[in-house]
Symmetry: C2
């Protein structure tokens, strides 16, 4: 993995200078990158509404930046809603994107002014009808995509596409406004055509609903746009071009309102997690690889290395291509054996790397800090610092 | 799973009464159970020193209870040490059980009075020699056991048994006191004979070390004693009887000092995690199973359901064996698809179970609350309450 593929010399120098005096582990978020990513994505989908999923990184600095840019928000809980409200984000800019919500939380969100809810089952619709009367709802459907996504999301949420008609009818009958359909092709989805498969399904639902007198207006295409991890992906531009073409092909000149929920794509590339090597060892003289133990791990920012799902680029402060490298296993500092980030993937580090040196985990702006354990093994959750502007 | 196999009617009534007015999710820890488990284990190993691994559950209430009973402690970080010191536990009662530690943390622990360190590699020994001169060290070795443990711990920690001699010699040469050998057969180890395999290896190391003029005095047998989960295990008594026999067979009348580090066995059975059903749904009409979504999940107490490793008994407040039951998938409340606790295991719940009802997760006293994410999806970490005495 080459740092130069992810950071220019100048930007990298800034990261290093900023982080040098700070005690590891921590994450540096470059707000310039967040802003640029937002603007880029918005330019490719000029008619779409972007709802940033707060769960990707709930740092107030990021929320404030995106709010200023005009972003909308996707909340997963009333706690996230409270945070946004306290920062001055009006409830009309939010949607409740979690299909799993307590009746009391629906009531709370409604009382605070939220009027747009995701749903995927009869009991949730009943709760919304009772506790958020007259609200808009959209039905989340199950789509394919798990095989080609790094972090598949295609089992837990959503109903079978054909069940969505029943749910739309039920919504209407219970006084709600059946507003649209949502899907999620899976996080860090590598195959752009998965969006087309999903859109074909959605356009069928739009037709079937119309036959029942229900005029849907919106498609929430969720997230799935990639961040730059170790495995190469297409640029956001390529994704956008293709997806816009799928929309035209499936809906001709009647393209519905589009909602996007990019988390990883907006903040993933903006983060660098800085860790220190605690110890390097071999388990026996004849081991072909070294164990490299760091001061952060799966329970302190790197949970998405679970099953080695997300492969972050890991680099050192300075690159020297002439240095001989060897395979390493990267592991965290806790007394838990599952706290190993990469064992099968066999990352490579210079043979003369030693304790006290720093490793930089790129593209760690999303789904890292807020996942950290409160105090597992006594270690405090990882800090974040913000640069840019 | 029958609640009666884990709780008497009387004790269960107390749990229900205590928890009823509290808002879910939370964990109730019965300190009476912690005390009884400690006393039982101590009675089976009267000559052993018990070092409670703080990481299993770092609640001050549990630490205070065990301290009062005379327990020693195993710390994984200086943060855990600080917590113990602030509660009046003297440093002589602690060992630094984590083989992965920064040089600065070794220096800190030494300055605060800690003198017993686990280690498994040359660079760590060098750090201990420099920053904790003259301290006692014990070498952690790799042993088998992963195949028969629910939560295997046999790759990340420890060196090959034959490398331990080199490490003992190095320790001696650098002015440290080579004190003993440690191993861990894996957490929730179901095969008692794995301790014998490990002890055979340890006794060989003791002999080889003696030939080099190093007289080892101690075996740290780690943890591995089980808590009561869904799959049946032997009683602690059976484990103790067998392990004591292995010790006699391998060491005759020269049994070394024994250190035990029971975490799960001391506090696991003491906890009940109380959760509420948010929603129940089927993904399509023809689904043979229901999805049951709870207000707690993998990121808020139930991390050990990762890969469905730990199978907690899950029961309802009242049992009624006449009720018809059906298969369910149990999932948590976050917008993350990996937040599914049991999908393959197919737990069963009554067919008439509905949202708002509570599910009780038994044996959740260990490796639950401190693992919880700081604010993933905005949800706050899970609370604990303490009863007993």
């Amino acid at each position: 993995m080459k740092r130069k593929n992810f950071y220019s010399d100048e930007e990298w120098r800034k990261i290093i200078e900023f982080s040098e005096p700070l005690q590891t582990p921590f994450i540096v978020i470059n707000l310039d990158r967040v802003r640029n990513q937002y603007k880029e994505l918005a330019s490719y989908f000029p008619a779409a509404q972007i709802h940033y999923p707060v769960k990707a990184n709930p740092a107030p600095e990021i929320i404030a930046e995106l709010h200023q840019l005009g972003s909308n928000f996707d909340i997963a809980s009333i706690y996230e809603m409270d945070k946004l409200l306290s920062m001055g984000v009006p409830p009309e800019k939010m949607l409740f994107g979690n299909t799993i919500k307590k009746a009391s939380d629906i009531a709370y969100a409604f009382k605070k002014g939220l009027r747009l809810f995701a749903t995927d089952c009869l009991s949730d619709i009943e709760n919304i009808a009772v506790h958020a009367p007259g609200s808009q709802v959209y039905i989340r459907i199950l789509v394919q995509g798990g095989e080609t996504a790094d972090w598949p999301i295609n089992r837990k949420f959503g109903c079978h596409p054909m069940s969505s008609i029943t749910l739309l009818e039920k919504s209407l009958k219970r006084g709600l406004i059946p507003y649209g359909i949502s899907f999620h092709v899976g996080s860090q989805q590598r195959s752009v055509w998965q969006w087309n498969e999903a859109l074909i399904s959605v356009s069928q639902i739009f037709s079937l609903a119309r036959e029942q007198g229900i005029h849907l207006e919106m498609i929430n295409m969720g997230g799935g746009f990639p961040a730059n991890y170790a495995n190469k992906t297409h640029s956001i531009k390529v994704y956008a071009t293709e997806i816009n073409r799928y929309l035209r092909e499936n809906f001709n000149d009647q393209i519905p309102k589009i909602i996007l929920e990019p988390g990883r794509a907006l903040v993933g590339n903006a983060g660098v997690l800085v860790s220190e090597i605690i110890t390097i060892s071999k388990k026996s003289r004849s081991d072909s690889h070294r164990w490299v133990y760091l001061d952060t791990g799966k329970f302190n920012g790197l949970i998405e290395t679970m099953d080695e799902g997300t492969k972050y680029p890991v680099v050192m402060a300075e690159e020297n291509e002439k240095k001989r490298v060897g395979e390493v296993i990267l592991a965290g500092p806790t007394c838990d054996s599952v706290d190993i980030m990469y064992e099968k993937a066999r990352y490579k580090l210079p043979l003369n790397v030693c304790s006290g040196q720093r490793l930089y985990w790129l593209s760690t702006g999303a789904y890292t800090s807020s996942f950290a354990a409160v105090e597992f093994n006594g270690f405090p959750p990882i800090n974040s610092y913000f640069i840019g502007k």
